[in-house]
C-alpha cells in the first residue's frame, strides 16, 4: 500500500530528477518557439514555466490512473500508481499515449501569446531550454525546503542570463513568482508581469476583431481572481476583440475551482469537480473560455461527455483555430 507521503515523494522526486512533476520529453518545453525564431538574450523574457506544455501529459497520466481505478481495488491501484510514477517503461506509456494534435493545440496557444506580444511591439526574448518549471507543486505539497531549493535554481538561471523582467502566461506561475519567490529567495528582484496585463494596457491594441459574432461563457481561474487580482484584464481584451462574454453566477472573485490542483493525487475527485463546474457553465453557453492551463487540462477530460467545448483565451485572441 502506498501512502500519501510516498505518493508526494514520488511526484516531487520527479521534479528533482527531471525538473518537471511528470517526466516529459524536454524538447516539448521549447519546440513550439522554434518556428518563430524568438531571440534568446534579452532583459525581458517570456517565461512559460512549462505548465501549458504539461497539459497533454497530465491528461495522459490521469487517464491512465482512471483506467486503473475502473479495473482494480483500492489496494492494487495505489501500488500500481507507485509503479506508474517510478517505472521508466510506464513513463513511456504515458508519453506515447499523448496524441500529436493535443501537443499541437498547446503549441498553437503558446505561439498565439508570443505573436500577440510581437504584433504589439513588445520587445522580449525567450528562454528555450532554460524555461524551467516554477516548482509550484512542491509549495502546494508543503515541501518548504525543496520548494526553496527549486526556486533558487530558477532564480540562478535568470541571473545567469541577465534577466530583469519575466512575462508570465498562467495564473499559477504568476502567483508563484510574484508572491512566493520574494518570500523564499533572498533579494528576488525580478519584475514579474503577466501577458494579459501587458496586452490590456496597450491603447492601440492590434488584435483580430470578431465583429461580436462569438459568444462565450468565461471561467475565471482562482489564482488570477482571488490571488492576483487579474479580473478585468481578460474581459477588456475579449471585448476589444469583439467577443461577447457571458458571466456565470460564480464569476470573478467568487469563481468555482475546476478541480485541477488535485488531479494527480485524486483524479476521480478532480474529474467530478470539473463535471460539476461544467454543468453549471453549460447553462449559460456550451462555448467556454479558460485562462489557465490547469483548467484547460482538467476540463478537457470531461468536456466531450458534457457536450461543451473549451477554448483558451490566448488562441481566441490570437485569431487562430484550434
Amino acid at each position: 500500500m502506498v501512502s500519501i507521503k510516498q505518493l508526494v515523494e514520488i511526484i516531487t522526486s520527479n521534479i528533482e530528477s527531471t525538473g518537471f512533476p511528470i517526466p516529459i520529453p524536454s524538447e516539448i518545453i521549447y519546440e513550439w518557439a522554434i518556428p518563430l525564431k524568438l531571440p534568446r538574450r534579452k532583459k525581458r523574457v517570456l517565461y512559460t514555466g512549462a505548465l501549458y506544455q504539461l497539459v497533454p501529459y497530465i491528461n495522459s497520466l490521469v487517464k491512465y490512473l482512471e483506467s486503473l481505478e475502473e479495473r482494480d481495488t483500492i489496494a492494487s491501484i495505489t501500488l500500481k500508481t507507485a509503479r506508474v510514477f517510478t517505472k521508466i517503461s510506464l513513463f513511456r506509456k504515458i508519453v506515447l499515449r499523448v496524441r500529436e494534435e493535443e501537443v499541437e493545440r498547446i503549441y498553437k496557444i503558446l505561439r498565439s501569446i508570443a505573436m500577440l506580444l510581437i504584433e504589439n511591439n513588445i520587445d522580449y526574448g525567450y528562454l528555450y531550454e532554460d524555461d524551467l518549471y516554477s516548482g509550484v507543486l512542491l509549495y502546494d505539497m508543503g515541501l518548504e525546503d525543496r520548494f526553496a531549493k527549486h526556486a533558487e535554481k530558477v532564480n540562478k538561471v535568470f541571473k545567469k542570463l541577465g534577466v530583469e523582467e519575466v512575462i508570465t502566461i498562467d495564473p499559477h506561475t504568476t502567483y508563484t513568482l510574484r508572491q512566493l519567490y520574494p518570500k523564499y529567495i533572498d533579494r528576488f528582484d525580478i519584475n514579474v508581469v503577466n501577458y494579459l496585463e501587458i496586452l490590456s494596457s496597450i491603447e492601440e491594441l492590434k488584435i483580430k476583431h470578431y465583429g461580436n459574432s462569438l459568444k462565450y461563457v468565461i471561467h475565471d481561474p482562482c489564482y488570477y481572481t482571488r490571488f492576483e487580482n487579474i479580473i478585468e484584464e481578460p474581459r477588456k481584451l475579449l471585448l476589444r476583440a469583439g467577443i461577447q462574454i457571458v458571466e456565470p453566477r460564480r464569476a470573478k472573485e467568487l469563481t468555482y475551482c475546476c478541480g485541477g490542483p488535485i488531479e494527480s493525487i485524486f483524479p476521480s475527485l478532480a474529474g467530478a469537480i470539473a463535471e460539476a463546474r461544467l454543468e453549471e457553465l453549460r447553462e449559460y453557453s456550451t462555448q467556454i473560455i479558460t485562462l489557465c492551463p490547469i483548467c484547460l487540462a482538467n476540463f478537457s477530460r470531461v468536456s466531450q461527455k458534457l457536450g461543451v467545448s473549451i477554448r483558451d483565451i490566448a488562441s481566441l485572441l490570437g485569431g487562430g483555430d484550434e
Binding site: L65, G142, D145
Partner: protein, 128 residues
C-alpha cells in the same frame, strides 16, 4: 523548516489562525470538494477543526489525512469567511508539518483513501 523552532512557530501561527474560527459555516456553500466528500473533512469548516485536532496532538486517520490533502487551496472559502480565515493556507501548513513528521497520523494511516459521493446515483466510490 526542519528546525524545531521553525515548526513550533508554524504551529503557533496555525493555531492562532484556526482559533479564530467561529464555526459559522458560511464558507461551506462555496467549497467544491464538500458536496462530493463523505464527511465534513472535505469542507473548510471541518478542515479547520481537523487541523486544530492535529495541532493539539491527536493522531488523524488515513481518511481524515486524505480529506485534508484533497483541499484545492482555491481560496473560495476565504472570500465568504467573516474573519477571513485562509483555510487553503491552513491546510498547506498542516502538510508542511505532516511531511516533516511533526504531526502524525494514526497507526496504519498511510494509505490514500478518498471517498467521494456520486451525486447522480447516490452511491459511493473509493478511489486512490
Amino acid at each position: 523548516m526542519n528546525s524545531k523552532a521553525d515548526s513550533s512557530n508554524l504551529v503557533y501561527m496555525l493555531s492562532r489562525e484556526a482559533g479564530k474560527c467561529l464555526y459559522c459555516g458560511f464558507c461551506e456553500a462555496v467549497c467544491p470538494t464538500l458536496p462530493l466528500g463523505l464527511h465534513r473533512g472535505y469542507g473548510p469548516r471541518g478542515r479547520v477543526a481537523l487541523v486544530l485536532e492535529a495541532l493539539r496532538g491527536y493522531k488523524l486517520s488515513n481518511e481524515v489525512i486524505s480529506s485534508l490533502y484533497s483541499c484545492l487551496g482555491c481560496g473560495a472559502c476565504r472570500v465568504k469567511c467573516p474573519v477571513s480565515i485562509d483555510v487553503g493556507g491552513l491546510v498547506r501548513g498542516f502538510k508542511v508539518l505532516y511531511s516533516i513528521g511533526f504531526v502524525k497520523g494514526a497507526p496504519k494511516s498511510d494509505q490514500v483513501v478518498v471517498r467521494i459521493r456520486r451525486r447522480k446515483y447516490g452511491i459511493y466510490k473509493a478511489i486512490s
